[in-house]
């Protein structure tokens, strides 16, 4: 159960949100100018990184706003939350430090 900070409502449980897949995949301005392969890539092909991934969430049981989250797909650490339409923030340079038992 992730804890996600909605940019408008604050920290809420994952169950309040809908997942929206990879962020920054814009609908092509002129789909008819694309080849079948390019259109097919827009429709069906998404990244699946092991690591940080910019993805879309929507606060379905709250403000109903779409926004973007940068989540690490292994650790589930959320390093950035930002409104839809904004560019992905540049990650800070310092490495995430680990706690040792």
């Amino acid at each position: 159960m992730l804890l996600i900070a909605c940019p408008w409502c604050g920290e809420r449980d994952e169950t309040e949100y809908h997942y929206g897949g990879q962020a920054h995949v814009a609908h092509p301005a002129d789909p008819h100018a694309l080849s079948d392969a390019e259109w097919g890539a827009y429709l069906f092909v998404r990244d699946n990184p092991k690591g940080e991934f910019a993805e879309r969430w929507m606060h379905a049981a709250g403000c109903r706003r779409w926004f973007n989250v940068v989540r690490h797909t292994v650790t589930h650490d959320i390093s950035a939350v930002y409104p839809a339409g904004q560019p992905r923030p540049v990650p800070p340079s310092d490495e995430h430090s680990e706690v040792t038992a």
């Binding site: 159960m1 779409w66 038992a101």
Partner: protein, 954 residues
């Protein structure tokens, strides 16, 4: 006490001798005490065996005093039926009844009336485990002012101190525990939960805790959902078994459990006990057994040179210490009568003569495994510590700290120090800076000397391939021979061997046997240590929990919200048969006395086609789309155009996903230049609103449009049939209902005869003259009753969803989600006319893809069974005549999507998706049915009734 059971001591323990409790096990009545577990009460009564083993039916007895018992499975019958509980964790209550189980339980047929609840709580620091380390952590964190929750699975805090005789600060340790508890309970922000087991530790410190509440009416439990800034895991350690021949015989017990039964429950589990250990901790068991009056003829220590002080203390108590030795076999039937002991070489081979020692108890300590389950579930890593001979927490993946024996620290002073430190650090990290207190001095539990783990005690005969009584996982009857076979078969990964042998997959999920099994695997693989083999994955829940607890109150009517319309009470009074459509309860049909569904639906259909009928259409999704750019917005989402729709008119529209597949359809009315009123499929209303909001927010934020769900604000009565006009004329006397003044696909505002304002649309989902009367839901029931009253002279007939389906199917109108499945384009449905050529819309590009242009796509067609009395089942597969039905897979042409009996056609008919269906009109297809028959049907156009549409204007 005169009726004291044979093995109960006269004094001591955490049991209340003034509160005898009667209970029944396997049909025999016994007496126990408040404070007992079922296991301790049985042991007090001399009952050791529970149920036979799962596969080999070997006698099995109680081994431990906690959640890690491999054998003590019982079926609870009273106070409530509960399968597969552990006798070692069931608290004794008066009147309790249970029976022993052979590996698996049985669910009671009767519904579980117990009430379970859920609670959600945020906390700064969550401490799991109220042993010495956990208490110390909670004390330190609580003193900082942070909000602290301390959870422990026992009825009272204390952990291992409840089972020992240690001293803290010069007093019995339990005095310190009582003081700590009092201090915690006095802290305003601290909460102590007993009988509460942390079962899962998930992302961002989401911790699930199952709390038992036997004292509450109904006896139900509570599932806590904690979100903690910081977690301290003081989960303790499990004592490991040892793997030797006959190690499953009743009477072979955990040395720590023997000590726990003695000190906590005042139960002597044996009269003549041998102790077999790889380390220091079992010496306390041996000494305390002797002090309690048991004979302890031998203490077998695998170490050639045990600590001198321990050896001296044992000898002083009359216990012979056999160093550098191991128990290599057990004697007896259903109860241990003796053990066989041999010396061990440095290479762990047997040497010298075997000595037999008579005993009725063998207390075994194979070392200690920190309970790293929660740590690992929280994605923390573990490492093998060769000195401790244990897997211990290594790197945390979250804001989690481990302390005490859960992290491999086994002396009391060390546990207290680590607890104070972890609690203070956690509070500080949570924003409540605090310095760790100094731990008080402790007696009776000093840092242990290194153990000598012996992962596999050789048998006296044979080799690992024949050691079938060396049990590795007794719950699964899995032995060294089974592990040997897995290794011989080429398996190297512990995960593979686990699955092949089923080791660690029974009710305790490897709590008792897991690390011991890894040790055996390491030996048979020739690995240097268990660390090279590694652990299997730890998964929640930590202990078995019932589905009823997870469900809480979300059962029966509360499982999912039920939505009903304003007219619902009328439907109930009228005797409607309901069906679920999404969360909606909708009338399916209204049977008259003696009618079945077929008869009722045929009658309702006839009324709609021949006179007038009415349906409650309030469940249709309704969305107000308002704003200067509403027309542009709808033009981009619908395949057809809405910008040029005149105010006061309505239009049917289809929405596709970007892949070109039909997503929803419905009629949209333009109420004003900047106001559209859009309807959706009943089950799709929320998804359509989501879809519209997604495009507005993420792709077209510049569009000035707002979408609002108004489904529940409007109540809709669909008045259908050739006589509907006269009913509406009477109902809305001020409205000109002539076809010229109020043509098809237009909307009019009117005031009804009863004074209610209404929005009336001429929309038809049946092909008949029809009106949809929309009123505020507050008036829904009154207006429905008015429609019935004004239509009474025309014999107006209420109809349900089944008749609605038949009427629309006769007209070939598809239902999205029934006649489509997410792989169907508008063209597949024969709706090329709804796809605009001169504008772009979501999904249009996909219609130019090779796949959507294929001639052999599945098309929506009609089907007329050759036998007009034969009703094809919906979902029936279709094949070409002569198709090979033995081929795998059978070459399917498609399937039946809708199938009904038609009053208007006086026969059955169906809609189907058929490969290249529009090119097969007039051909025959076959439906091979599950009952073995093959039904022939003719492919037709989808519109079977009134294809010219002559009826819609009345």
């Amino acid at each position: 006490m005169s009726n004291r059971p044979g093995n109960r001591l006269a004094a001591g323990g955490r049991v209340d001798r003034s509160a005898p409790l009667r209970f029944t096990f396997d049909g025999v009545e016994y007496t126990g005490l408040r404070g007992d577990t079922l296991a301790s009460a049985l042991l007090a009564n001399g009952v050791l065996a529970v149920g036979p083993s799962l596969y080999r039916e070997r006698p099995r007895g109680i081994v431990t005093a906690g959640v890690d018992d491999p054998h003590a499975l019982v079926q609870l019958e009273r106070p409530c039926s509960d399968p597969m509980q552990l006798a070692t964790t069931v608290e004794l209550s008066d009147g309790l009844a249970a029976t022993g189980l052979q590996g698996r339980g049985r669910l009671d047929d009767a519904p579980d009336e117990t009430r379970y609840d859920k609670t959600y709580l945020h906390t700064d620091v969550l401490v799991v485990g109220a042993g010495p380390a956990g208490l110390a952590a909670a004390l330190a964190a609580g003193r900082s002012g942070a909000r602290v929750v301390l959870v422990d699975d026992q009825p009272e805090p204390g952990g291992a101190l409840l089972s020992g005789r240690e001293r803290i600060d010069g007093r019995p340790a339990l005095a310190w525990v009582a003081e700590a508890r009092a201090e915690l309970e006095a802290q305003p922000e601290t909460r102590l939960l007993t009988r509460a087991t942390a079962i899962g530790h998930h992302d961002q410190n989401y911790v699930l805790v199952a709390e038992r509440r036997p004292d509450r009416p109904g006896g139900g439990g509570r599932l806590w959902h904690f979100r903690a800034r910081q977690v301290v895991l003081a989960t303790g350690a499990h004592e490991r078994p040892l793997v030797f021949a006959g190690n499953d015989r009743p009477g072979v017990m955990s040395a720590a459990a023997v000590r726990s039964y003695l000190n906590r429950y005042a139960v002597l589990t044996g009269r003549r006990a041998v102790v077999f250990t790889t380390g220091d901790s079992a010496y306390a068991t041996a000494l305390e057994l002797a002090a309690a009056g048991a004979e302890v003829p031998a203490l077998v220590d695998t170490r050639p040179e045990p600590p001198a002080a321990l050896v001296k203390a044992a000898r002083a108590a009359g216990i012979e210490v056999l160093a550098g030795a191991a128990v290599v076999g057990t004697e007896g039937g259903a109860r241990l009568t003796g053990v066989r002991i041999s010396a061990l070489t440095a290479e762990e081979q047997l040497t010298g003569p075997v000595r037999e020692v008579a005993c009725d108890l063998l207390a075994v300590s194979g070392g200690w495994s920190p309970a790293v389950h929660l740590w690992s579930m929280a994605r923390g890593t573990v490492r093998y510590d060769a000195t401790l001979a244990a897997f211990v927490p290594d790197r945390a993946a979250q804001e989690v700290r481990a302390c005490g024996s859960g992290r491999g620290r086994h002396d009391l002073a060390g546990c207290l120090t680590e607890g104070f430190t972890a609690g203070a650090e956690a509070a500080t990290a949570a924003g409540f800076p605090f310095a760790a207190p100094i731990a008080p001095p402790c007696e009776g539990d000093t840092p242990p000397a290194p153990p000598r783990p012996v992962w596999l005690v050789p048998g006296e005969e044979g080799d690992p391939s024949t050691w079938r009584d060396h049990f590795v996982d007794a719950q699964r009857d899995a032995t060294v021979a089974d592990v040997h076979r897995a290794v011989r078969a080429g398996m190297r990964s512990v995960e593979h061997i686990k699955r092949y042998t089923t080791i660690g997959t029974a009710h305790d999920q490897g709590k008792s046997c897991g690390v011991a099994a890894i040790g055996v695997i390491a030996r048979l693989l020739g690995a240097r240590s268990p660390g090279e083999v590694g652990t299997t994955t730890f998964r929640g829940p930590y202990v078995p929990v019932s589905f009823a607890l997870l469900a809480g109150r979300e059962r029966g009517p509360l499982f999912d919200p039920v939505r009903t319309t304003a007219v619902h009470p009328w439907h109930v009074r009228r005797g409607a048969v309901f069906e679920n459509v999404g969360q909606w309860h909708r009338p399916r049909y209204y049977p008259r006395p003696g009618e079945d569904m077929d008869a009722a639906v045929l009658r309702e259909c006839r009324a709609a086609r021949e006179a007038v009928a009415v349906m409650d259409a309030s469940t249709l999704g309704k969305i107000d789309v308002i704003g200067p750019d509403a027309a542009v917005f709808l033009d981009r989402l619908y395949t057809n155009g809405f910008a040029k729709l005149p105010v006061g008119s309505a239009r049917y529209g289809v929405m596709c996903r970007a892949d070109g597949m039909v997503f929803d359809d419905g009629v949209t009315v333009r109420l004003a230049p900047d106001h559209y009123y859009l309807t959706t499929t009943t089950g799709n209303a929320a998804a359509v609103l989501d879809w519209m909001e997604e495009w507005l927010q993420t792709e077209w934020p510049e569009l000035r449009v707002r979408c609002t769900s108004v489904t529940e604000q409007w109540s809709t009565a669909a008045v259908v049939g050739p006589r509907s006009r006269e009913v509406v004329a009477a109902l809305a006397p001020g409205l000109d209902v002539s076809n010229d003044a109020f043509p098809f696909m237009t909307v009019r505002d009117a005031v009804l005869a009863n004074g209610v304002p209404a929005r009336i649309c001429r929309i038809s989902f049946s092909g008949e003259l029809a009106y949809e009367i929309n009123v505020s839901s507050w008036y829904g029931l009154a207006v429905w009753e008015a429609v019935l009253a004004y239509g009474a002279h025309a014999g107006i007939t209420p109809y349900g969803t089944e008749t609605m389906h038949v009427l629309r199917a006769e007209k070939g109108y598809p239902i999205v989600g029934q006649d489509t499945d997410g792989t169907v384009t508008p063209q597949d449905l024969g709706m090329t006319w709804v796809v605009a050529r001169h504008k772009d819309f979501v999904g249009k590009r996909s219609f130019a893809r090779a796949d959507t242009s294929r001639a052999d796509r599945r098309h929506l067609v009609g089907l007329l069974p050759v036998d007009g009395g034969e009703l094809l089942p919906e979902g029936a597969q279709l094949v070409a005549p002569g198709a090979d039905l033995t081929a795998v897979p059978v070459d399917s042409l498609g399937h039946v999507t809708s199938s009904y009996r038609s009053a208007a056609l006086d026969r059955t008919f169906a809609l189907a998706l058929v490969r290249g269906g529009r090119d097969r009109i007039g051909e025959t297809v076959l439906a091979p049915l599950p009952d073995g028959r093959t039904v022939a049907a003719t492919v037709t156009e989808p519109v079977l009734f009134d294809p010219k549409g002559g009826r819609r204007d009345g």
